[in-house]
Symmetry: C2
Subunit: 140 residues, 2 copies
Amino acid sequence: MIELGWHIIAELNGVDPRILDDEKYLVETLKNAAERADLTILSVKTHKFNPQGVSVVVVVAESHIFIHTWPEHRYAALDIFTCKSEESTWKAYKFILEKLKPGNTQVIMLKRGIVTHNNAMNLTVNAEGTTAAKGEVIVE
Amino acid sequence: MIELGWHIIAELNGVDPRILDDEKYLVETLKNAAERADLTILSVKTHKFNPQGVSVVVVVAESHIFIHTWPEHRYAALDIFTCKSEESTWKAYKFILEKLKPGNTQVIMLKRGIVTHNNAMNLTVNAEGTTAAKGEVIVE
């Protein structure tokens, strides 16, 4: 496989709903995560939902970080996609985790790029930055 | 599982590199895809890389659509995340496929939300909008 990007997809559960509804805090967290991971911030776009919930997208030269939050479920969907390095992507993720302190998380590292054998997408399942298992999802 | 969002992750291979380097065409395609899927566009952010490649993020009230392209590899990474409906998410995807005409695609539909059993993330593998297989990735 020619790896062109590293994409962390995380389900964050059990997060303090006040944090998940705090637009400013979320923006700062994602921006700081990008800086920690040596990513170049191009723009930040946020949307505050009524009565609750926030979307933040940080577009970086090396792709993007976004979070969509559902404070009423204490849940956030987090994606970090970079074409910098796998290590850098995990660095941003760990920083965000420290700031959001979810009670429970599910995370996958999806390697994006060109699969050199037919019709397969590689999924590397990863917890805490160390490969826990490797799965492959075959699409018809 | 409480489903809160539907996330299509697609690897598009064998796309005409002129299309993949055409910022205006990509923006129009993603905006039209959002409209087809009855999504409300909040903002569009693009970045043109030197010497080639484009990133486009369309932030919609129902989450986002992004594409990152590598014309030199005839490859694009496409993500469509909506909290509208699974059907709507596939509608946007199919529209984009018609416009980009990849020679080969891998796609997964990831259902985002709260998993009610411990430490599992459900992945529904999907091709052409019909469920082909269902996989589950267990994280330590």
